[in-house]
Symmetry: C2
Subunit: 293 residues, 2 copies
């Protein structure tokens, strides 16, 4: 285990194992051939060839498309292809990064390899030169990554909410942070990755925030997603990320990003430049929102 191992866990994607999923001429997702074969059952909605899957539903308004996906996703769920049901609508966006093409249940995002969006908030307690950070342990009954370590606050963006609103909502639900405190969270950048795991293809854009908290603050979880919080030194957190897989795959990247931004990893570290580049490693970032050019 090393920092680089954790970064490379988030870069497992072989485009030859996927078919591009195209909507209105944009590639917005990537599906496995198995999934593509299943989608052949809906000739009114999809066109499936050996090279790509296209959304060919005659009605092109977002509502009609969303309803069509609802039916398909329910079928995929019954077939066991969609798990970890969240009941949260997620917006799929065109390559202009702005126009919402349709919404889909969040659990189905990795099955189609659509772009996912999340916010991760580092909860930091500074006391002179001593910096500590809040870490949460995910509940044993979480559908993804049970009992793994997580940031103080993290969550997916629900369709229709801004990034700032998502921070405030998740800070309240996950850690009992009042809105007036959550609003002080400082945006410090993004992390992107594209990686295949048990859920399918995770192709996420994480918005990272740092939130300074007073030593007196104690987080309280109200949505049952975190079973315990710890206030640990950076040195301890650093060792856990470097030597173990206790942090959830993407939460480890958020810690590595924090360590880099704050000088806790030397520029002479043999993997330094690879770690930095690895925080923006998604080779598909042109597809499905926020193209780099």
């Amino acid at each position: 285990m090393s920092f680089l191992d954790r970064v490379l866990e988030c870069a497992r994607f072989d485009p030859r194992s996927y078919l591009p999923f195209r909507v209105d001429g944009d590639t917005v997702g990537f599906v496995k051939p198995d999934t593509a074969r299943r989608l052949c059952r809906y000739p009114d909605i999809f066109s499936v060839t050996s090279n790509e899957v296209g959304l060919t539903l005659p009605a092109t308004d977002p509502d009609s498309r969303s309803r069509a996906f609802d039916a398909v996703v329910e079928d995929l769920r019954q077939a066991g292809l969609v798990n970890a049901w969240r009941d949260e609508p997620h917006a799929v966006v065109g390559n202009d990064g702005r126009s919402v093409l349709f919404t889909i249940e969040r659990a189905a995002i990795p099955v189609f390899g659509f772009r996912g969006w999340g916010v991760h908030v580092n909860g930091i307690v500074r006391d002179g030169a001593d910096t500590r950070m809040w870490v949460g342990r995910r509940s044993a009954d979480k559908q993804t990554a049970p009992r793994q370590l997580d940031q103080l606050v993290a969550g997916g963006r629900v369709a229709g909410h801004t990034i700032g609103e998502t921070v405030i909502k998740e800070a309240d639900e996950e850690a009992g942070i009042p809105a007036e405190v959550a609003r002080r969270a400082v945006p410090v950048g993004t992390i992107t990755y594209c990686t295949e795991n048990v859920d399918g293809l995770r192709r996420d854009l994480l918005y990272v925030f740092d939130l300074d908290l007073p030593p007196s603050f104690v987080p309280i979880n109200s949505d049952g997603e975190i079973e315990e919080f710890y206030l640990w030194t950076i040195s301890k957190i650093r060792n856990i990320v470097e030597e173990t897989q206790q942090f959830k795959f993407n939460c480890a990247l958020v810690v590595i990003d924090f360590l880099i931004r704050n000088g806790f990893i030397s520029a002479e570290h043999p993997d330094y430049a690879m770690l930095c580049a690895g925080l923006q490693s998604d080779p598909t970032r042109l597809a499905g929102g926020v193209p780099p050019q």
Copy 2:
């Protein structure tokens, strides 16, 4: 002009306009067809086909290769293909990111599209909530980007020097910063880009440092590369980068990176994710050192 315009200035690369330059099976550079035709004059050193240029000098030790390049680069200089002579040897590294294949005069790096390395140090003066930053104006007689704005300290890594040594050397020469102060510079990440400009193909990896300085500090330039220093508010520097091209192309990226890391750009900025990804935009990063995987 916008932040995104400045980022996109550093992402001008069409691989179809270049031939890969290969050494020992690794692609370590990219040359224009014009340059490739010139290299045909040295059949003992290079093999040139319509698909690639290879280094085929029989002697494969770094010293022999460096001497061969010295002769070629002198010829290219006389032909007007290499300008802005620095008299600084630069190491060209294999794709393992470590083994030095040979050294070459720094001015010739963009002609071959080899990976360049630099350090950029933000000189920061914090006074409560008020943050200011030192900015240098490059001398009128600089061969590249004369009179453009720059960080307090910036420079290329000379072969054989570590990143830390480069910071200390450049901090002394460019701003008169004593070594014991320069050693406090905090590594905060890297920036990579690949872009075509008047020099050729700039394919650089910048190591970024933040250096907190006391209000009493006054920089003194001793190598003649900076004609004037300014201590400006972040707000003023932000406006200059957003609205003008006064900063040298890559120095603008270092400012944007600082603004993002410190919450001076909102996560709701329409280009936010593109700006963040744009700081690691080199599509060729596998080639010539520090591969991401």
